[in-house]
Amino acid sequence: MNFLLSLNKKIFLIVSFIFIFFILFIFSLNFFESNDNSENKFYINKKTSDISEPKFSINSKKQKISVTANEGNFLTEDEIILEKNVIFKSNKFKIYTDNVVFNKKTLVASSKDESKFISDNTSIDSAGFDIIENGNIINFKGKTKLVLK
């Protein structure tokens, strides 16, 4: 007899219920963990930001990368931390993340947060990135997944 047909309905339902409960438990644990993180971030952001909705661009001979974010705070005279909904946009790609440190003197942008790069038929998910040499080099850091369509 087919293996699936030989399963007892009642026991199957009970085990399914336990299984679903187990999955929900794991998901809720993840949810609360991420909530904790966002709360931490909230406390940091509670203070008034130095720049509201900062907008600027990184220019090179071949491309212009415009940078936008919800908030910006000065870390040093040259370094700004861009927070919440940070977007790097050029005519070829977009990068989405939540926290980026930008050095206005060296024009280096660096993030240690999860980032998503989207381009034509291409997406990259990484654990952060560095944009150096006026945007010529993008270094996606840590465990990275690239999908080409």
């Binding site: 293996f3 071949k62 070829k92 993008i138 270094n139 996606f140 690239l146 999908v147 369509k149």
Partner: protein
């Protein structure tokens, strides 16, 4: 109860496949990131790189991919350090220290010690380099310990160049040129051949041997400067630059 545990274990173990890549997509994962050089038009994939597509799978530790316009528009792939690759669609697999794949020329090159490339029923080995060009239908094995094993022939030599032809959907060796400053070896079902240079022509069904030629068959050993073996008739002839120099040894094996 065990049945239920097995059932849910199957579900759990297959969970990740439900979220894996879609058909037609190429998924690349790395442990230590990707560096994209936009002006130079290449990207570097670092540490435990895994490339999976419908047609091709590759594992390596450092992979450099050159692209035409965008990242997906791949021109050439160069992988190094413990490279393993396979393509079920093209019936090809191999491994080596370095692997190069030129997509435009349809050329595969494997280099380094203990390089291997298996193409359908043909097996190629070398400590130097192995190159297969799909468009030209040619291959080249070069370096020490170079070896080619096909269904009915084993060849060793320093340089093994050949042409592959499509015979009823299967690629078969059509022409061969083998060279070795020391001595090359060609072993068929019943004959062993040694020389410094050899040519194989499938159409003419002949194997020609040049310089320091030795042909062994059963208890017969014939040496000379030139040898020719007819693979259809299974007959051979050995001659010498000096007509008195051909040497035949017939040993009694009983």
């Amino acid at each position: 109860m065990i049945k239920y545990v097995i059932f849910f274990l199957i579900v759990l173990l297959n969970y990740k496949y439900a979220f894996s890549r879609n058909i037609g997509e190429t998924e690349i994962t790395t442990e230590d990131g990707i560096e994209v050089f936009q002006e130079e038009k290449y990207y570097l994939l670092k540490k435990n790189v895994e490339i999976v597509s419908d047609e091709f799978e590759l594992n390596g530790n450092l992979v450099k991919i050159f692209f035409e316009k965008d990242l997906y528009d791949i021109k050439e792939l160069i992988a190094s350090t413990d490279v393993n690759f396979k393509s079920i669609e093209y019936n090809i697999k191999g491994k080596g220290e370095t692997f190069k794949f030129n997509i435009q020329n349809e050329e595969i090159n494997v280099t380094g010690e203990k390089s291997e490339l298996f193409l359908e029923t043909t097996e190629m080995f070398s400590d130097g380099s192995i190159t297969v060009n799909n468009l030209a239908g040619s291959f080249s094995i070069e370096g020490s310990n170079s070896k080619l094993i096909s269904e009915d022939i084993l060849i060793t030599g320093f340089i093994i160049n050949g042409v592959l032809v499509n015979d009823n959907g299967a690629r078969e060796i059509s022409n061969l040129e083998v060279q070795d400053e020391n001595i090359l070896t060609i072993i068929t079902e019943d004959t062993e051949m040694f020389s410094k240079k050899a040519f194989y022509d499938r159409e003419k069904s002949i194997i020609e041997l040049f310089d320091s030629v030795t042909i062994k068959r059963g208890s017969e050993i014939i040496t000379g400067d030139y040898g020719i073996l007819d693979t259809n008739r299974n007959s051979y002839k050995v001659s010498s630059n000096n007509s008195n120099k051909v040497k035949v040894i017939i040993s009694n094996t009983k």
